[in-house]
């Protein structure tokens, strides 16, 4: 995924939506900014397929050496797939956060929230966070 085409939460998750015959499927991950801020990923907990996720609510956890961080869902729906191999290869998230480091795929219940940030707005927020 190229970051420019993605939408972002203020909590550094990204989302991309694909229309498929079975409905709209959102792929969710965390951004390069998040990966840079965390460093040293040591643990990941993802929901199982079939789990419900809700926009703005935690769907899992990523833990670095120093601290645990909730992962917040950008969308409401049902998990169709979690990137389980990631759990044993957390480096993948650091190497390719917008691609092979995707976390979950969600069948959407409805449209995405309107307050997600586009790439520019997200980068501006990251810059503001740094100052």
């Amino acid at each position: 995924m190229s970051p420019e085409s993605l939408l972002f939460t203020p909590t550094h998750e990204w989302v991309a939506v694909e229309k498929t015959p079975s409905g709209e499927i959102a792929t969710v991950g965390i951004s390069d900014f998040a990966v840079q801020a965390l460093t040293d990923l040591v643990f990941l907990q993802l929901p199982a397929a079939g789990a419900k996720v809700e926009a703005g609510r935690p769907f899992g956890e990523v833990e670095s050496v120093k601290a645990v961080n909730d992962l917040y869902s950008p969308a409401t729906g049902t998990v169709v797939e979690a990137n389980s191999p990631l759990v044993n290869d957390l480096e993948q998230i650091s190497r390719d956060p917008f691609g092979a480091g995707w976390l979950i795929k969600v069948k959407l219940d409805g449209p995405l929230p309107s307050d997600l940030l586009d790439h520019n707005a997200y980068r501006q927020q990251c810059a503001a966070d740094e100052h």
Binding site: P10, T11, H12, I30, A34, Q36, A37, L38, T39, D40, V42, F43, Q45, P58, E63, V65, K66, A67, V68, N69, D70, Y72, V87, D129, E130, H131
Partner: protein, 430 residues
């Protein structure tokens, strides 16, 4: 008997443990990345309060991209690159950490030895020149006020002096405790004078740790490092122009479980000497290391940290530090209480836990035997060297045997673990 309930009430009063390495991160915290302003890449760190103490290396840390945090009121780097990389560098080559925040307290005068013997739990009066001992300061109930190193040296007149190295978080408390026990009539008693100086801001201190430490530091000092014994130190000239002909004190001590040294030098020349060590060490693989790596290293080495394994709600026997208590010599605060405590079976034991899963346990996580809560985690993290999550905890002594299977409640998940001996990691003697 200090119950778990009392221990936890005490910890609750402390709020975030003052000695802790986890700024703002609690075991059950629900913090989003957006809230972690201190963890951003910003080297200028505008988010830190301006009132924080700065070591002589502050500008260097910031310029190098150190992620600065408030540690016991000092601005220090948690990491420069990756905690795991810095940790591994110290295990495999060498690392240098700025530990100038630690309190250094100097005692001299004819009454100094007895004064310290009547303050510390450990023997002092029989120390050899250059010897360093790990000791505790206890209160009247035998609770631990601080854990310290005490070193014995001679000054330029050949007069003895002692240096106490104390935790940064406890320095105000320890200084106040010393002053309380050193009123003018004691300090100025003719023939038994005690001169106490807090030299924390006068001397910077560096920890240089790792198997290549001797090799890398030897060109800088005029004492033979290869033959310096563990827990010994010496004054030394610093053989580099950056030292401006000043010297320092170097000791074979550390908080990592690797071979290494701690070096004290004057604050005014510290930045230049630090840079000299960085330059000398670069070809040997030396990296600067932050507080994050120091925490994972000391945890693997099974070393206690004040505010985690140690507090005033803990006595030395629970902590496994009875060896630091000399109960048949000078009377010090808490000696009588410790005599009683040591005569009874210990009521809780410090253990090491190896978790079966990857989820790290953290301070405050409850430890269970079946359905029964029998203890609490005091420190926990992922161990880069072992590749597993490890923790230290206090448990009821009947569950302290190696191999005992327990579970740890980590934010509602019951994670299996088993008791292992401490330390978790032994360095290979080279």
């Amino acid at each position: 008997m200090v119950s778990f309930a009392a221990f936890r009430r005490f910890r609750a009063q402390l709020g975030r443990p003052s000695g802790g390495f986890s700024p703002g991160a609690k075991p059950d915290s629900r913090r989003s990345l957006a809230a972690k302003a201190l963890w951003t890449r910003n080297p200028l760190n505008m988010n830190l309060p301006a009132s924080l103490n700065k070591t002589p290396l502050y500008e260097w840390h910031v310029a190098r991209g150190g992620r600065m945090v408030d540690f016991a009121g000092w601005a220090l780097p948690i990491q420069y690159t990756s905690i795991i990389e810095e940790h591994n560098a110290i295990r495999n080559a060498a690392g240098i950490a700025d530990i100038s925040h630690m309190g250094r307290l100097r005692f001299e005068g004819p009454g100094a030895a007895v004064f310290l013997a009547e303050l510390l739990t450990r023997r002092v009066a029989d120390m050899a020149l250059g010897q360093i001992r790990y000791s505790l300061i206890t209160n009247e109930q035998g609770g631990i006020i601080d854990d310290v190193l005490v070193g014995y040296y001679h000054d330029e007149f050949g007069q003895p002096f002692y240096v106490l190295v104390v935790n940064a978080s406890n320095r105000p408390k320890v200084v106040e405790w010393i002053r309380r026990h050193l009123p003018p009539e004691r300090a100025e008693r003719p023939g038994h004078e005690v001169i106490f100086t807090d030299v924390t801001r006068l001397w910077a201190m560096f920890a240089i740790q790792g198997p290549r430490s001797v090799e890398l530091l030897q060109p800088l000092v005029d004492v033979d490092l290869a033959t310096m014994k563990y827990y010994r130190g010496a004054q030394t000239r610093i053989l580099h122009p950056a030292a401006q002909r000043q010297g320092g004190i170097i000791s074979r001590t550390g908080y990592t479980g690797e071979d290494g040294f701690e070096l004290s030098v004057g604050a005014g020349v510290a930045a230049g000497i630090w840079q000299a060590i960085i330059d000398l060490g670069r070809p040997l693989g030396l990296v600067p290391a932050g507080l994050g790596a120091r925490d994972t290293l000391r945890l693997e080495a099974g070393m206690p940290l004040y505010g985690h394994e140690l507090s005033e709600a803990v006595n030395p026997y629970q902590a496994g530090l009875g060896y630091a208590c000399h109960l048949t010599g000078y009377d010090f605060p808490g000696r009588d209480a410790l005599r009683q405590i040591s005569a009874a079976p210990v009521d809780r034991a410090r253990i090491g836990l190896m978790l079966e899963g990857k989820r790290p346990a953290r301070q405050g996580c409850e430890v269970y035997a079946g359905d029964r809560m029998i203890g609490e985690v005091t420190s926990g993290s992922f161990s880069p060297t072992l590749g597993k999550s490890i923790a230290m905890a206090y448990v009821s002594p009947e569950f302290a045997a190696e191999g005992t299977q327990l579970t740890i409640d980590i934010r509602g998940h019951r994670e299996p673990a088993h008791v292992v001996g401490l330390p978790f990691y032994y360095r290979q003697k080279k």
